[in-house]
Symmetry: C2
DNA sequence: TGTGCACTTCAAGTATACAAGAGGAGGATT
DNA sequence: AATCCTCCTCTTGTATACTTGAAGTGCACA
């Protein structure tokens, strides 16, 4: 059983358990990357059961490493394991969507406070990302999503708390799945870009109040937009 | 291979992937519970490699479910997997300890804000736990740790955000390992009890400023105490 | 005597064989 | 005709056999 993998592993993938050096990943990591990419991209839509045979064919590795990958994905909240039934791609309810965004707001606000209070330097990268934002086309949703992700990730990273980064990363991965489903977010790309630049400038000058206000404004409206676009339902 | 498990699974264990109903767990869950308990209790100290053969003997299940449990534990941050080397119990550095407490402060502060701002009811359980606190003996470290845990968990839960609870739970599990190593925390049990009651009262009256102050005071001094007791090093 | 290479040994990685539960289809009985 | 029981099949759960890579040891050569 060594046919080529069916799922492409693109920008959306990442295996942080893989050790730094090696170019060749273990079968478990390949399975993890492939399945994770499939879940994030929507190839495996929420609510669907991933049969081990399917995962085996899709990733080109045998059941043992596939099952280890499934265990990991379940631990990270992408899957729900039903004993003797299989692994279901986790559904995100309206409540959970709002909870996710609430936690995200908490994380980013905390990062902003730490950066401003401790007068931490803001990496030049943040402004580069703003520039890049103005150059991408309005229709390139994938590029926009990726850019957006890197922008917010940079801010959280600038707070200098590794644990915070990890929490954020997992959060974002779960939100990506939802965002991916709503491909019409292009309508607000321009406004987002402006907000990003204002935020970057507020952070650079360590203006906590302003940075916090922008962050809150920026993130508070997101859940409603996403919920309406995906038809996921109304909040509690 | 069906000898009895060597590791007892006590109050410290929990398998949230196990489905609600079933009394009998799968071998994977038993392996997970056993290994997790072993890590949290210190039977597998930080830095130690857990060989699969060891884990197999300790939990009484074969390698396959053990490896799935290891994958899950690694995803949850308890282990670091070194390809072809094995699973090492994660070391907690001084920096990470402070990061963990910083994130914990963020989470609990957020919960406090949500409770006060949204005028959420504070469960009676919180006060019951305070009463219970006054009854336990000064030397029962395990009971104290458990009580402390339930108190803070109750607060976070009262914020009504499931995602927040999950983040907190994982955080606390990682901190438990450190706290367990420092068995001398008895010195401050009385003061902790007083703080808990003040906090519970502030929350019940939705006095955000006071509740936040107590939380911050309470959690800010912890990392230094733990660091000094465990000799884990000084902050960055 | 020191260094380097090869061999041995052992543990992790992977595949597969076997066991067992769950669900569905089909037949029989009411 | 409808319902219930039984059997079959399919998928997951578990164990084990096999493969591969890594590390340590010992011998040979410089």
């Amino acid at each position: 059983m060594n046919e080529p993998a069916l799922l492409s592993v693109d920008a959306v993938s990442e295996s942080n358990s893989r050790s730094e050096n090696d170019a060749i990943a273990t079968a478990r990591d390949r399975a993890y990357d492939g399945l994770r990419a499939g879940i994030l991209s929507g190839s495996f839509p929420p609510g669907e059961f991933i049969e081990e045979a399917t995962a085996t064919k899709a990733t080109g590795v045998s059941r043992t490493p596939v099952r280890e990958a499934l265990s990991r994905l379940a631990a990270e909240g992408f899957l729900v394991l039903h004993p003797r039934r299989g692994a279901m791609v986790k559904q995100i309810s309206a409540n959970e969507l709002f909870d996710l965004y609430d936690v995200r707001l908490m994380v980013e606000s905390h990062a902003v406070r730490r950066i401003c209070q401790e007068k931490r330097p803001v990496p030049k990268l943040l402004f580069d990302l703003c520039d890049e934002h103005e150059e991408i086309t309005m229709t390139d949703h994938l590029a926009f999503t990726d850019l957006n992700h890197r922008f917010h990730e940079t801010i959280v990273a600038a707070a200098g708390n590794a644990v915070l980064c990890q929490v954020f990363e997992n959060l974002r991965a779960n939100l990506t799945r939802v965002a991916m489903l709503s491909f019409q977010m292009g309508v607000r790309k321009k406004r987002e870009g402006l907000m990003h630049r204002s935020l970057a400038e507020a952070l650079a000058s360590h203006d906590e109040a302003k940075a916090l206000e922008i962050t809150t404004e920026h993130l508070s409206r997101m859940p409603r937009v996403v919920a309406s676009l995906t038809g996921i339902g109304q909040p509690k």
